[in-house]
């Protein structure tokens, strides 16, 4: 409905990009959601390579049982910064990039609701990226307390400086929270207020449902994390005692603050990937998304449940038995809406006419690894079993199956699927498939051996380990190095295709969706005429028109 008012306003209502129409615009304070989307994606990918490099040094250390390649303090800094960079500099910015690029196009809007806020939210990302990078060079090194920053370890500050790795880390996380809240306000408003005429809730693509569900979690949960971070910063710098047991504080209280947001954050991450799966499978199976309304609503159910499961990270912590049992049941409940989605995707693929493009392969690979992670996830929800494997490599294996297996593979699926739209060029299928094979083998070789390690009791976050774990660690390290290699064909493919790939045309996949009605890449402000939606988002096989007018710019 607010599109109507947008149309009335003169074109100068939204600031023009003001930059030349070439690569230089990606280095400006552009307010075009498509420029910002690509800015997010590229910055995130650079930090993905950085975080991956740290992981490969870690895997190098873990090739042999003793702590020999790097000093223990360095190893501890590496795993802390690996986790931090991968979450705050890769996953979240990458998700925001996809949402930024796709949501306005998918709902038939000319831009996000608040373009300047959008640009401001993005430009905070390099700021805290620099802070995190700089923290490697301050005396005492970067934070070495893990990405949870549990006190009292995070309060110990052996260097004695006020400016230390830990305080810079807290500052960066707080800024990341501010940026994410700005992004969330923008995306939620855009989806609620700027859908094209005729696009009711159940005409909206599943990706938008999942982004909405995820960004609602950001709005609900982030204040708790930010409050916890501020209290931690006060404990560290000005000597308050919220969490410091020596002065009567309670370290377990911090864990509640931290996980109250940081568990739902996992759903912030995975929900849009569910959305990517829901978009990709129908296109390449040439079938409507099976049970679309239920798939859409189950995202919101996951949002609701995600707020009442956080204690499952604390089953072995200072929590009483009744609390463990309560949160075990709520956690297991989440598997029901998640299962509905998995079964719906399988039913979408079943009986279709499959085209195994790179995007489809990544989505199928991501789904299979997510399935495995979901099964170990139910096991981890079971308190007695979790007591055994809590804080072991079993957990590390589980969440890397989620975050690499499902999320990174989902990102790749999204990049390959929408690459022709974003750049107007086609990528090379051969290189793409090579990338898929290397990634799929690398990820399984890296993360599957972590499960037996954990079952045999190897704790996570260790710089050295007992000799009986050596075999599985060597396998995992080989997988880790393979994952490093796997990014090379991807980078080559993206760079060469973007500069000299064949022209893609508006809709190379013959996909249904408003984003495929406009040219590739879409023009500034996307639609010449705001589309009027007249049918559902997945009309494969039924030949119904999606819109009643021709929204593309001539």
């Amino acid at each position: 409905m607010s599109n109507a008012s947008l149309e009335v306003a003169s074109p100068s209502f939204q600031p023009q990009p003001g930059a030349p129409d070439n690569w230089r615009r990606f280095f400006t304070f552009s307010t075009d959601h498509k420029v910002i989307g690509i800015q997010y994606i590229v910055v995130a990918f650079v930090f993905f390579l950085f975080g991956g490099l740290l992981a490969m040094v870690m895997r190098g250390e873990l090739l042999t049982p003793p702590a020999d390649l790097v000093d223990r303090t360095v190893y501890n800094g590496l795993f802390t910064m690996h986790g931090t960079l991968m979450l705050f500099m890769w996953t979240f910015p990458m998700l925001n990039g996809l949402a930024n690029y796709l949501v306005p196009l998918m709902i038939g809007a000319r831009d996000m609701a608040f373009p300047r806020l959008n640009a401001a939210a993005f430009w905070l990302v390099p700021v805290f990226g620099v802070i995190l990078t700089v923290s490697f060079f301050v005396p005492g090194g970067p934070s070495q307390s893990g990405w949870w920053a549990y006190p009292p370890v995070s309060l110990q500050n052996p260097s004695g400086n006020l400016i230390n790795g830990q305080s810079l880390w807290i500052l960066a996380v707080a800024l990341s929270g501010v940026s994410s809240i700005m992004g969330a306000v923008n995306i939620v408003t855009t989806i609620l207020r700027m859908r094209a005429p005729g696009m009711g809730w159940f005409q909206m693509p599943a990706f938008c449902w999942t982004v909405l569900s995820a960004q609602l979690i950001q709005l609900i949960g982030l204040p708790a994390l930010t409050a916890g971070a501020v209290m931690l910063l006060f404990d560290l710098t000005v000597g308050t005692s919220f969490f410091n047991p020596e002065l009567g504080g309670d370290p377990v209280l911090y864990q509640h603050f931290f996980w109250f947001y940081s568990h739902p954050a996992v759903y912030v991450i995975i929900l849009p990937i569910f959305g990517v799966f829901s978009e990709v499978f129908p296109v390449y199976a040439r079938k409507p998304l099976f049970g679309y309304p239920v798939v859409a609503v189950s995202s919101l159910i996951i949002t609701g449940l995600s707020a009442i499961v956080w204690v499952h990270h604390m089953f072995a912590s200072g929590t009483p038995g009744w609390m463990r049992m309560l949160f075990m049941v709520t956690t297991m409940t989440i598997s029901v809406p998640t299962g509905i989605k998995v079964f719906a995707w399988v039913a979408t693929v079943w009986g279709g006419r499959l085209r195994l493009t790179t995007g489809m392969l990544f989505a199928l690979g991501g789904l299979s690894m997510f399935l495995f992670a979901g099964i170990t996830g139910i096991m981890l929800a079971s308190v007695p079993f979790d007591i055994h494997v809590n804080n072991t490599y079993f957990v590390v294996g589980h969440f890397h199956y989620v975050i690499y297996g499902a999320v990174v593979m989902g990102f790749y699926a999204a990049i390959y699927h929408w690459f022709p739209k974003m750049t107007g060029r086609m990528y090379y299928e051969g290189l793409g498939k090579l990338h898929f094979v290397l990634t799929f083998i690398g990820a399984n070789l890296n993360f599957l051996p972590m499960h037996p390690m954990g079952l045999h009791g190897m704790p996570r976050r260790v710089a050295s380990y007992d000799p009986e774990f050596a075999f599985w660690n060597v396998l995992a390290s080989l997988g880790g190095f393979l994952l490093g290699v796997s990014t090379l064909p991807f980078i080559l493919n993206m760079l060469s295709s973007w500069s000299r790939g064949p022209e893609a045309g508006d809709n190379p996949w013959r996909a249904i969706g408003l984003e495929w009605l406009v040219s590739s890449p879409p023009p500034h402000e996307n639609f010449d005429e705001i589309p009027v939606v007249v049918s559902g988002p997945y009309g494969y096989g039924s030949d119904e028109p999606l819109v009643a007018n021709s929204p593309a710019k001539e």
């Binding site: 370890v153 052996p158 299979s368």
Partner: protein
């Protein structure tokens, strides 16, 4: 669907079920020897969940792989698939079955946890939650024998047997008797973890946590710090010895008669060497000196 297809599907389902049952039995071999009563309970639960998980995994993956092999569009074929938008019956089934499975797994897990009763009875009092402890009116019934005091620090484990006034860096426990421990930390969070027992509990500074379990198999097992505790976290491990009641009494008596000496300590040693050779990476918290104990264990001791 004709009869033949249905028979084929049922056959495949039975094959998947048999395979899952077999994998569920294999799950026992993926674990360490069962050295505590709790280990038997946890392994049964793990085997049960592995069976169910395998069945779901094979069902979903089998379907997907079948599609990927047999339902691909021929080259240059631009036809769409059938426009099937959903199936209410199917969707109800795949919502109801997971709900029942969740209830089943949660029920099994609850019973298992109840039997283990690691923290004593499942009540707020048992954990020493700050508020609940303040409100409690009655004292808990004292255990028959006094608890072994487990103290964790950066980076050493120390075990104190109050009746014999014995200090040790190795935990000794009599077999087939309920072990009662009180876990305390002198500095940061640590985790008491014995993989062969399948038991674990974070050690929280400022709290004394009662923890119990029953060792049932003689031998020496690894005890590890499971909650990240700073620089030398990975080196903060020792052993548990489970022995017959007579051997246990004998050990206590010998230890009580031994004058305390400085124990071996990996963190302290490594830190001294690193500062001497100037190979320390970044500034670290200084490790506590090696514990002074009646019985000092060695990292060279063999364990299972």
């Amino acid at each position: 669907m004709n009869r033949r297809t249905i028979a084929k599907l049922i056959g495949l389902a039975i094959a998947a079920l048999l395979l899952s049952l077999w994998i569920g039995q294999q799950a026992y071999t993926w674990m360490l020897p069962q050295a505590a009563a709790e280990a038997i309970l946890v392994d049964n639960l793990f085997s049960f969940m592995t069976t169910i998980g395998s069945f779901i995994f094979f069902g979903v993956m089998g379907t997907l792989i079948y599609s990927m092999i047999f339902q691909r569009a021929p080259k240059y074929d631009s036809k769409d698939g059938p426009p099937i938008e959903g199936n209410l019956k199917l969707e109800i089934v795949w919502t109801a079955i997971p709900i029942m499975l969740v209830i089943w797994i949660a029920g099994f897990s609850y019973q298992t946890y109840d039997h283990m009763s690691l923290l004593g009875t499942m009540a707020p009092r048992a954990m020493g939650m700050a508020t609940a402890a303040a409100a409690a009116l009655e004292e808990p019934t004292a255990p028959a024998q006094s608890s072994i005091e487990v103290s964790a620090r950066q980076w050493a484990w120390e075990f104190y047997y109050p009746e014999q006034a014995v200090r040790s860096t190795e935990l000794h426990l009599p077999v087939n008797e309920r072990a009662h421990l009180v876990l305390t930390s002198e500095d940061v969070l640590h985790g008491f973890f014995v993989p062969a027992f399948r038991v674990k509990q974070d050690v929280v500074p400022g709290r004394a946590i009662d923890f119990e379990f029953t060792p049932i198999r003689e031998g020496r097992y690894r005890l590890r710090d499971s909650e990240y505790s700073g620089t030398y976290f990975a080196a903060n491990q020792t052993n548990v010895v489970v022995e017959s009641a007579t051997a246990y009494e004998q050990w206590l008596a010998t230890a009580a008669a031994t004058p305390p000496t400085s124990a071996e300590n990996v963190a302290h040693e490594e830190f001294r060497r690193a500062t001497d050779n100037d190979t320390l990476g970044w500034t670290t918290v200084k490790p506590a000196p090696a514990p002074i104990v009646n019985y000092a264990s060695s990292e060279e001791d063999p364990y299972e």
